[in-house]
């Protein structure tokens, strides 16, 4: 399929600032392709980001865009969406932004099942601040703040958002463009809280310190570690070790927050 995405970028703001080999640019471009495929109105689309490498995406994308404080993008997006439910509201976050400082907003956004599409670019590290460990840095990995190996354990973000109430949960990788576009499109069109973990690579601040020296090697790791959800359940526990499922992991038709609130308005106004 041919995509027409030039209109979705502020051409004068490109090229982006992300490092050579970074997966964020690929993920952002695939999000734009999904927006094209989903055929949503760009004039009614808002992109909200937090702070960190992922936070820079809002500046490149040609919509109403808001670059917020660290970790709070979902809370800002909740206000934007509830105030005007006509808007398609996309949140772009990172693993530090979205699961550490912003973890509370992630679970509560999911719990409300408010119609946001949250794209969490997971590069397993705080890249912008040059390589501190995040909640998604693998246990044992090296980071500037875990010089003796990281002893923190990770979230399974699909499990976390499922337990919190999200109604569309998916995971993709910067490596698998076709799959990522498909799940982004699914998330954009889903009515409810859509959470998409997009596995990215940070050769500069993660790979370099963990003997995965190039972006190519990191992409190869993404390819070899990911298993389509359709095949995942057939794997034994032993086969699942060191791997993760990708694709649409969970989907449910569930009442959406802003629609429920509109019902309250309609009912109290009728009584009045």
């Amino acid at each position: 399929m041919k995509y027409d995405i030039d209109e979705f970028f502020r051409q004068d703001k490109l090229p982006h600032i992300w490092c050579p080999g970074c997966g964020h640019g690929t993920i952002m471009a695939n999000l734009a392709r999904a927006i094209d495929k989903a055929d949503i109105d760009p004039n009614k689309t808002v992109v909200v980001s937090g702070i960190g490498c992922s936070g820079r995406a809002s500046g490149y994308m040609n919509f109403d865009t808001l670059h917020t404080t660290h970790g709070r993008a979902i809370a800002f997006a909740t206000g934007i969406k509830l105030a005007n439910p006509e808007l398609n509201v996309i949140v772009i976050s990172g693993d530090g932004d979205g699961t550490a400082i912003g973890g509370n907003h992630l679970i509560h956004g999911a719990r409300r099942n408010i119609d946001l599409t949250v794209v969490l670019m997971n590069n397993h590290i705080y890249g912008m601040t040059s390589g501190q460990f995040s909640p998604m840095t693998p246990t044992g990995a090296n980071a500037t703040t875990s010089p003796y190996g990281n002893i923190d354990q990770n979230f399974d973000l699909a499990d976390l958002t499922k337990a919190s109430g999200a109604s569309f949960i998916a995971r993709g990788t910067a490596f698998n463009t076709r799959q990522l576009i498909e799940i982004f499109e699914g998330g954009l069109l889903h009515k409810g809280f859509s959470f998409i973990e997009a596995i990215s690579q940070c050769p500069v601040n993660y790979g370099r310190r963990n003997n995965i020296d190039t972006a190519v090697e990191m992409l190869k790791w993404q390819k070899e570690s990911s298993v389509n959800i359709k095949k995942w359940d057939k794997l034994s526990d032993e086969e699942k070790k060191g791997k993760f499922p990708t694709g649409v992991i969970y989907k449910e038709d569930k009442r959406e927050y802003t629609e429920m609130y509109q019902e309250i308005i309609d009912s109290v106004q009728k009584e009045a």
Partner: protein, 377 residues
């Protein structure tokens, strides 16, 4: 025909004032002594087609009302000291990106959990300096239930007119006290709405320098597709990382306040030519002040009062003027002396400045003010 009299508490007057001013969005988190504002708006907003949301925390509440403001709704949150502390970072973003909204702080005694149900005026300096960096601030402090209604409407009007968050500083007494009030009719209330762009998206710069320093603001979804960031930015809304842009933006943000002091400075005075002692106060403390000054006058003492409704920006002109006409200015406050420092700075040695301070959750009694008036007369 006028409206019927109502028995309202200050927190309820915020609810009435917000609805009257056109507020259609509230996000908040439960906290004493401000929860009645959330409860009132949870009930009333949907009746007016507005939205209420109880967020997961105070930070999210502040974020949420800024988001709603960008979507085009007049929005408000309400909290008390601990929550006001938590809101500060996002409040700073609101000032930086010029998002109109109203933040109510019904002050209780701090620091920390402090005395949750007792009055205080301890957040006066936090209202001015709570978020990091220099920033413009408008903070209003009502002394009665009626004034709470009026200043809530004013807070929205200032927020919309000057395109910035406005802080409404109640204290627990004003918040919880019930008084009989006659609310004005809707058609008699002056309402300001934010300036909208007069140009199309092609010619639009979201942070254009205009004569009044206030850039027009479209709502999200109106086709302008503009960028907003807490980074220092130029007129296009984008950061360039230049020191020149940083100074230019900060100067413009401050100019919105500095060039409109006559509009923003709200106060009342009862000072006669012969008065030698003036009591300057704000918020609930003002109620004891008026009683004390009336009794002093009955005793033949030449005393008067000034009530500040705007505390930030500090109404320095009126204080400078008064200081030249009187011998003593008394500043009673429910803190260890916060606004008195501002008074001293602007009195510039022209008059003696004396404080009366309570910070244990009790009120300043009229007798305590009267005693000091007698002493300094």
């Amino acid at each position: 025909m006028t409206n019927k009299a109502k028995l309202l508490q200050g927190d309820e007057a915020v609810v009435e004032g917000a609805i009257a001013a056109g507020a259609r969005f509230f996000a908040g988190y439960p906290i004493t002594p401000a929860s009645e504002i959330a409860e009132g708006l949870a009930e009333k907003l949907p009746v007016h087609g507005g939205k209420f949301i109880q967020m997961e925390d105070e930070l999210a509440s502040m974020a949420c009302i800024i988001g709603a403001s960008l979507s085009g709704l007049k929005s408000i949150t309400a909290t008390s000291g601990p929550g006001f502390s938590l809101k500060q970072e996002n409040l700073g973003l609101g000032m930086m990106i010029e998002a109109p909204c109203v933040v109510v702080n019904v002050q209780r005694v701090g620091p920390s959990t402090g005395l949750p149900t007792s009055p205080s005026q301890g957040d006066v300096m936090q209202a001015k300096w709570g978020t990091h960096g220099d920033h413009p601030v408008i903070a209003l402090a009502p002394s009665s239930v009626k004034e709470t209604f009026e200043l809530t409407v004013k807070a929205f009007n200032f927020a919309e007119r000057f395109r910035m968050p406005v802080i409404l500083l109640l204290d627990e007494i004003v918040g919880h006290m019930r008084e009989k009030v006659v609310l004005p009719k809707q058609e008699d209330i002056e309402i300001w709405d934010r300036k909208k762009p007069e140009v199309g998206p092609e010619d639009f710069n979201p942070y254009e320098e205009t004569e009044d320093h206030i850039p027009p603001m479209p709502a999200y979804g109106e086709g302008y597709r503009y960028h907003t960031t807490g980074l220092f930015h130029d007129k296009t809304g984008f950061p360039r990382g230049t020191t020149e842009d940083a100074k230019k933006l900060m100067d413009r943000l401050m100019a919105k306040i500095e060039e409109n002091m006559d509009i923003i400075s709200l106060y009342e005075t009862d000072i006669r030519d012969e008065d030698e002692v003036v009591v300057l106060a704000y918020g609930s403390t003002m109620r004891s002040v008026i009683n004390a000054v009336d009794r002093a006058r009955d005793e033949g003492i030449n005393a008067g009062w000034i009530k500040l409704k705007t505390i930030w920006p500090f109404p320095e002109d009126i204080v400078k003027k008064i200081s030249q006409d009187v011998n003593t200015i008394i500043v009673p406050e429910l803190n260890r002396g916060q606004l008195i420092k501002e008074v001293k700075e602007h009195v510039f040695g022209n008059a003696e400045v004396r404080g009366i301070n309570k910070y244990d959750g009790t009120l300043i009694k009229p007798d305590e003010i009267l005693d000091l008036i007698r002493e300094v007369k």
